[in-house]
Point group: C2
Chain length 229, copies 2
Amino acid sequence: MSYTYEFPRPALTVDCVVFGLDDRDLKVLFIRRGIPPFADRWALPGGFVRMDESLEEAARRELLEETGVEQVFLEQLYTFGDVKRDPRDRVVTVAYYALINLSEHNIHAATDAKDAAWFPVADPPKLAFDHDRILATALARLKGKVRYEPIGFELLPQKFTLSQLQKLYETILEQPLDKRNFRKKILGMQLLVELDELQSDVPHRAARLYQFDEHKYAQLKQKGFNFEL
Amino acid sequence: MSYTYEFPRPALTVDCVVFGLDDRDLKVLFIRRGIPPFADRWALPGGFVRMDESLEEAARRELLEETGVEQVFLEQLYTFGDVKRDPRDRVVTVAYYALINLSEHNIHAATDAKDAAWFPVADPPKLAFDHDRILATALARLKGKVRYEPIGFELLPQKFTLSQLQKLYETILEQPLDKRNFRKKILGMQLLVELDELQSDVPHRAARLYQFDEHKYAQLKQKGFNFEL
DNA sequence: TCAAAAGTGTTATGGTTACACCCATGA
DNA sequence: TCATGGGTGTAACCATAACACTTTTGA
């Protein structure tokens, strides 16, 4: 089977930058390539866009196929289309970034025996294609957006402590925050529900758990409220 | 001549949302389509990406070919790839937005006899494809970005008065601003060069002219300075 | 009892907001 | 002389930043 067109067309792919957070640092997920070009190099999960699916559907499908990740925050990042970004053929890729919480998602290696692994964003391996540039773009976006949209919560479990939340911001923004000021500010927004529940299994005083109130955020946002760290 | 591939490929285009500002309001540029689908409808300037040009190059080329506009602020906006956004074929489009100052650019109708015209963004004509959605996305981006990047100056002549600048922000943000506070804030940033020159040909007291200091902005930005209206 | 993190208020500072009048110019 | 926009300062208010000790818990 083959497909013929009057004018040449670039190939179109999607690639996903998947961020996760553990108690150490911010991580990003890569897949080991099985085939040339860049065989054995690490690369972003991604693949060709099919004719019967939208770009976001393609990104979600690839994410599921290659990493088993489903139902996550996913947002279009940028489209990379330099002529020589793929050495063989003209390939334009629409990049997405995803935020997942590592404690509630299990990443399995891909179906086709390539393996998947998390790397600290600060210290990624050598990557295929222009994927280092895509990663840098995604990081910049995350760093910018986390301050004025409450997307950080996507990286935490549903129930979290204020210290976890603060650490998240400190990690992403790469700057320390004052504990009291942080709590005052975040609680002042009234977007967190204080649960009747404490941390368990910690070797020190257990912290209170909170939940992000998406419904309330949607309401406030409509009234002109702006989240701002 | 024809081109054959093993798997089907979407067609790839670029479209440009071109913003301009006159003394009335914010305007956007459309081209009258000559051919189906949507013959005679207004549409964004744009066209197919060639194999030997990057996406931004394609956008600049189309802009030049269809409107005569050159050397303007141009930034990638978003990529639209819904399956049925073009009724004939699968077409994915990478949208860009451009900011130009109407007083220093002459928009000519396109080479191929379609005509081009400016419309108020608040009252656009009925548009081809999903171009209304693209316009809405561009407006949202402009409105958001103008507050924390000094891109508004791209819409003004090189030399402008503080009142023009204020009106620009009031128009884009759709809210009135206090004159004294606005001046205090914008002058406080030290990004404007006060010229030894006044407005001419106005039927009232002539206002002082200013110029944006791009060089200084680049310096300050590097040192961690953030423009913020 | 010790280590480790949780939790909690106050003060100083700086930026934002609100607000009204005189000035210069050309018609 | 009138109409039109140009240009200017101050005070109240609010948000941010800096800062240290007590509490709880499990080991």
